[in-house]
Subunit: 491 residues, 2 copies
């Protein structure tokens, strides 16, 4: 544990338990710049030996799954084999409760070259017409290389279907990354991962060492082979290197991580949507064209109009570069997208905007502390407590001067969860004073969990790696903007 830890949060938690009884489980540490910052020394990448290939001839590896259609009855199963043959392309699957009825699907196989690297055979098999809310077993490989995994399909989209998402970003493959993934997996609540971009960080290595994509695939298999990871492309997926004649953006990412973009009418895997349980999830690309007239702009404009809040009450948007960020690292890098899309997010009452990119954690909305009077003497002072509200900044017309974020109950909550633990280290240089759009921020590695309870309420927690998984370093309730557009600070 770092020696420069501030005891304030612990004192606060104790004081909260002692004196703060609130109806909504809201604790003192819900709104602040946390004093709980870690050493910013970057964690080292784990060595290649930490990720051995599975045993057996032509054993399938780097197994991962994602949703394979719009509504959750499809799954894309992806894996890599050293060689290509008929056996290698087959996935067998069956309902866990009915092992006698085995089905088969065949993958499409891809390879790519990057400078002096040639990939293995990358398989993607899309399976359709699965049953909702059902556990499936699937099996890859042949002979002594057979490997078996399982997943559970999401419930049919509907207004009161509880579902829990993990949220991770900027993961990399360091010892800190390992801690983050381990913490997430130790929490048994997460049913699927919303991944906000920056996967392997291969591009940080000489010649963009593509073997790092292979080790990352092995590293994340323990989770990604068993539950859907919903992918977003980050800047480290661009992977362009003109100095070695590699000009095609997203080459490795697009070959390795297929998504069901066509089912939502998208023309690019970099932006798409899915419905999963109670949530309509829209994935955007911070590093593709998105101005008016472009494909991404046209698609999003049409997509937002299609959202049926009666079917999927929760509307979640994911991108890599945050629209609101109060860290000096990557400050205002999302501004170009914000000035175009924020008005739409407010108009369509988006519930949550998830981003990564900044290697820290930040949340934009903080509920009211019902114990202000009691608390103000003690922990409020320790924590520089400030209640923050939903804000928007969409009135600007160049000359009217209306460019300050203002209270707006139609606005989303902004969450930055870019603290997966990659090789670049933490971003602990926050803007002071803490802006009005920032409720909680902390430069620690971790992950978040979003528990959608019903069509009105979701409970959200953020977990720093230094704590035991059961500890929520940050937690709050979010109220659905369409069905329960109450001010979180008023309830």
């Amino acid at each position: 544990m770092a020696s420069n830890n501030n005891l304030a949060p612990y004192i606060c938690i104790i004081l909260s338990i002692l004196i703060c009884i609130t109806p909504n489980n809201i604790f003192c540490h819900a709104a602040k710049t946390s004093g709980y910052t870690r050493s910013t020394n970057a964690s080292a990448d784990m060595p290649a030996e930490a990720f051995p290939a599975p045993p057996g001839f032509n054993a399938p590896e780097q197994v991962h799954i994602t949703q394979g259609d719009c509504g959750g009855r499809g799954v894309i199963i992806s894996w890599v084999t050293p060689y290509k043959n008929d056996y290698a392309s087959i996935v067998r699957y069956w309902k866990a409760c009915d092992p006698k009825h085995v089905f088969k699907a065949r993958s499409r196989v891809y390879t790519y070259s990057y400078y002096n690297y040639t990939s293995g055979f990358i398989h993607h098999a899309t399976i359709h017409k699965l049953e909702h809310d059902t556990k499936y077993i699937y099996e890859l490989g042949h002979g002594d290389s057979i490997r078996q995994f399982s997943f559970t399909t999401p419930p049919k989209p509907g207004p009161n279907v509880p579902y829990t998402f993990g949220i991770m970003g900027d993961l990399g493959q360091t010892y800190a990354s390992n801690s983050t993934l381990g913490h997430y997996m130790a929490n048994k609540k997460g049913q699927a991962v919303l991944f906000v971009g920056d996967l392997s960080y291969a591009d940080n290595w000489p010649l963009h060492d593509q073997r790092k994509w292979d080790t990352w695939g092995r590293f994340t298999e323990n989770s990604a082979a068993y539950q859907a990871w919903i992918w977003t492309a980050g800047n480290h997926e661009l992977d362009v290197a003109p100095e070695i004649n590699e000009y095609v953006p997203f080459k490795a990412y697009k070959h390795r991580y297929h998504v069901p973009y066509k089912s939502s009418g998208s023309t690019s895997p970099l932006w798409y949507s899915i419905k999963r349980g109670p949530a309509h999830i829209i994935v955007l690309s911070s590093y593709s064209a998105f101005t008016k007239y472009t494909a991404q702009y046209n698609w999003l404009e049409a997509e937002l109009k299609k959202v049926n809040r009666h079917e999927t009450p929760w509307l979640i948007v994911m991108m890599h570069a945050p629209l609101y960020n109060s860290d000096n690292y990557h400050y205002m890098e999302g501004e170009s997208m914000r000035v175009i899309f924020e008005p739409w997010f407010v108009q369509h009452k988006v519930d949550l905007v998830l981003a990564g990119h900044v290697h820290a954690y930040e949340r934009s909305v903080s509920p009211r502390l019902n114990y202000t009077i009691v608390c103000s003497i003690s922990c409020a002072k320790l924590l520089s407590y400030r209640q923050t509200e939903r804000i928007s900044n969409i009135q600007y017309n160049i000359t009217n001067g209306q460019c300050t974020p203002i209270k707006d109950q139609n606005a989303p909550v902004y969450l930055t969860v870019g603290d997966g633990g990659n090789i670049e280290g933490l971003a602990n240089n926050f803007i002071e004073p803490q802006p009005s759009y920032s409720a909680y921020r902390e430069a620690s590695f971790g992950h978040a969990v979003l528990e959608i309870k019903n069509q009105t309420h979701a409970f959200y927690t953020w977990h720093r790696n230094q704590d035991h998984e059961a500890v929520a370093a940050d937690s709050t309730w979010f109220y659905n903007r369409f069905w329960f557009p109450k001010d979180e600070s008023s309830l």
Copy 2:
């Protein structure tokens, strides 16, 4: 002539001549919202019969040239033939003063298909190592289809090399377009055209009728075969039509209009630079990715550092969507690019930012009128005269409220010349009151001319189609930001 003309400009011009003696040729009409607006009825496209193919078997058509290298000793000659054979690919060229020494170059040949259309054979021949400031004759075709054209190479880049550019945008192929091009060609000053995007408007026709690209090529040949047109891609070059399975952006544009992007280290023809005479010209793409980490961002960041103002004192940036526009049409569509690139434009003292897109004319800076006292009684009142200065709007940090354009002598002049005359008609719905960043605006079709005199001074005029070419509806001097960073309003 439209019947709703306002006589104010004429009265003003007369009054100016009578009473306004200024050292800088600045007339009253230099700073205003002009009353001289045209009917906004869109002009109709000229019929295909207006653009017959040239006579002879396999005659080369749609001939156009652009600069073929970084410094002006190269030219790309492009043409289309119905058939492909050895003759069709050859261009013969010689110095006008030395017709006995004939050289040959061979084209690279391309075709493309778009829905039910297949293009002719599109030829691009790049010729290098020409002599500067020299007239060349070139000849295409064979037998009875031989066609002869000429061009003059630009002078060697240098600090005191006079050079005159025409500026056009959003041209289309209507009767109004014909008037604009005719007016430009009637003005013999222009040595090359800076074209700010939106060429044929083929995408406005059913199935994006690609034959409109052919007729546009024939229409513009009279100018573009004889002087370099420097191309910028506009939104009408995107030409994407998912409903007919056409997903590749810029397909026709990229096939038909080659540019020398590799010579400036760019990896895409949509952004590149050239040096031409006294000017370093940077072309950007409003409809490609340009956020941090993307190829266009990385290229521009490096490119601006390379500009040598001792060699090319004038730094000009072109894009399609204007960063400053006070027309309700396309209002703030350039905002996404402005928030990223404007700080660089100010830092690097860009002289001019040229754009189109808005079907009107607008200029951001207005010099001081030295005759204010005399004039205020008469034309100043008629014209709602207001002096405007160079402005920037780059201080914003989300919370500081500093988002109003302020005086900044390092800022560029912004010119919108989107009034080429295309089928969509004029944009005559201006924001009132006229913002501080707008000096002159008028919804009339026309073109502009930039006469760079030396390393400190350039004389600029805008010409509306209804006037005789010799009449400058708007005119002013621009002072070079690097070598003569004076306030235009102080001299």
